[in-house]
Amino acid sequence: MFRNIFNLKSFVPIVVFFIVLLILPPIIPRFYTYIIAVMFVTSLLAMSLNMVLGHGGMFQFHHGAFYGVGAYTFALILTKTTLPMWVGFAAGPIVAALVGLLVGWFCVRLNRLYFGMLQISLGSLIWAIAFRWYSLTSGDDGIHGIPMPSILSSLNCSYYFILIVLAICLVGMYLIFKSPFGTTLQAIRDNPQRCEAVGVNVRRHQLAAIVIATFFAGVAGVLFVVLERSVFPDLLFWVLSLEIFIMCLLGGWFTFLGPMLGAAITVALRTFVGIYTEYWTLILGVILILLIFFLPEGVFGYFIEKFKERGTTDMLEEK
């Protein structure tokens, strides 16, 4: 079954890349290991958003809320209960997906912009609760210094842990992307009305997509806690949600790996431009405008288009 979708040609560079990522930590400075790990977490988050945004065509305006819910769930289980660690690992994504189910259940009834608006209000509601419920979440201060088991004690250990989880998630997401469900979802993105006419219950598929995407967002949230050992309300704030929205567009939201590239670029910009100037959002804004004017398909999407023109992708000839 795997042979069907992973052809050797595209598989080799991915494996090489993965091996490079595996051997990097001992040989590069600690700071870079940390930055790459941040890129991993952000990539997963952006790609989970893209499942509904780029592949599903839904205006998921407040995806960050589910990321935050995953992170908070994990953090609260670790700090407020005596439950074992793995319960937290499982609970983070599951709670995020449940919240996704609840939010999505209301949202899929609405069209486009109203969908986005309702989601912003529901997401903001979650943010407001986390922000104000001092006794549970420590409100504005957040929770810091969350204890991790010894297996995840060093930065390199958490790096590897995050990398492996990311790899598993990517394979899962790719399978879904290429599955009948994924194809149907993309058909819904292109033309929901026609989809209904060929017998697809659009809302139910959209809801399923939201639940799956929010599950992965929850995984990203858990990984964030593993890396940073803290949670704070900004994780749930809408500004972050818009930022990941941008990452998807930056990388190319109709592609599979594009958002990952977008996330990496954004994190790199924030980190390295941030060293020279505190006005990095200004630069992000300028880049975004350039993108809108010159690369509306995103960076990755642009390269794929180029490849198609030269006819070098075997993707098209296979069928």
Binding site: L125, Y279, F293
Partner: protein, 298 residues
């Protein structure tokens, strides 16, 4: 706080007025957003940044005139014009080239604008807290329902309806207003009868942003002017416009009232979670009426 005391008639009454004056500020800002949304069909995410620029400009003008009463009135008059100018430049230089593009791109452009304007404000005015004093006769409080009520808030209660009536007169009684209303409903038709739609859009955008600036200037004496005030208002504005019915001016007014009042009564009932109440109200309204309370112009 003693619960029994909290729910006295006086407390309810004064909270009502507080909410009402908050609603007026929200209405001034949101009506601008709603206007842009109605004509251009784009939720302007940079609207909050323009509101912030309005507040900062008001501060600068106020300081320039030695923090006098004249300074205050001039600030109230000039700051929105500064904002209108900024928006006109952004619209003519960049935004107007995108009208033919996908809707999402327009939305993203306004987000990019928000990022840029936010940092520009930080560059120009810095990160400190600023404040503006209202003229002496608007300072202090008067007693209403036996509890003190700031005079400036009364001033806001007068300004809000004036803006509402002014906007209504503009859209219904002037030619430009009528054209922009027609453009909101059917832009092809407006283009077909020989009106330059691009300039209609520019006009609508600038007027909407002017109102954001006016809101910023009006709010300046009641809050500390600082970076980050854009983030606070923009989501509220988004939601108000949505629950009112996209692009519907009266819907925006109703939405502002709901937002302002649920917030101020929330403070009375459950101070810790006061900020939750408006969001709950929005959720309830959108589930009850998915496309807002009044008819959307879309």
């Amino acid at each position: 706080m003693d619960i029994g005391q909290a729910f006295t008639f006086a407390a309810l009454g004064s909270q009502f007025l507080v909410g009402l004056s908050r609603a007026m500020i929200l209405f001034v800002v949101c009506s601008g957003m709603s206007f842009v949304l109605g004509v251009l069909r784009v939720p302007n995410i940079a609207h909050g940044s323009l509101y912030m620029i309005g507040a900062f400009s008001a501060y600068s003008i106020f300081t320039l005139f030695g923090q006098s009463s004249t300074g205050f009135w001039l600030a109230l008059f000039l700051a929105p014009l500064v904002v209108a100018l900024v928006s006109l430049i952004a619209e003519r230089a960049l935004f107007c080239h995108l009208y033919e593009r996908e809707h999402l791109m327009l939305l993203l452009f306004t987000f990019a604008l928000m990022l840029i304007l936010g940092d520009l404000v930080k560059l120009i005015w810095g990160a400190e807290y600023r404040s503006i004093m209202a003229p002496p006769f608007l300072r202090g409080s008067i007693s209403i329902f036996g509890s003190p009520f700031p005079r400036y808030n009364l001033f806001l209660l007068i300004i809000g309806p004036i803006v509402a009536i002014g906007l209504w007169l503009f859209t219904n009684k002037t030619k430009i207003g009528k054209i922009s209303r027609a453009a909101a409903v059917d832009r092809e038709m407006v283009g077909a009868v020989g009106i330059n739609v691009s300039w209609v859009f520019a006009g609508a955008f600038v007027i909407g942003c002017y109102l954001a600036g006016l809101g910023g200037a009006l709010v300046a004496p009641t809050v500390s002017v600082t970076i980050g005030m854009d983030h606070d208002i923009i989501i509220e504005a988004f939601l108000i416009v949505t629950i009112g019915g996209l692009g519907n001016m009266w819907g925006t007014l109703v939405g502002s009232l709901i937002f302002g009042l649920t917030q101020s009564f929330g403070v009375l009932f459950w101070p810790q979670f006061a900020i939750v109440f408006p969001y709950v109200a929005v959720v309830v309204i959108l589930i009850w009426r998915p496309t807002g309370m009044l008819k959307s112009v879309w």
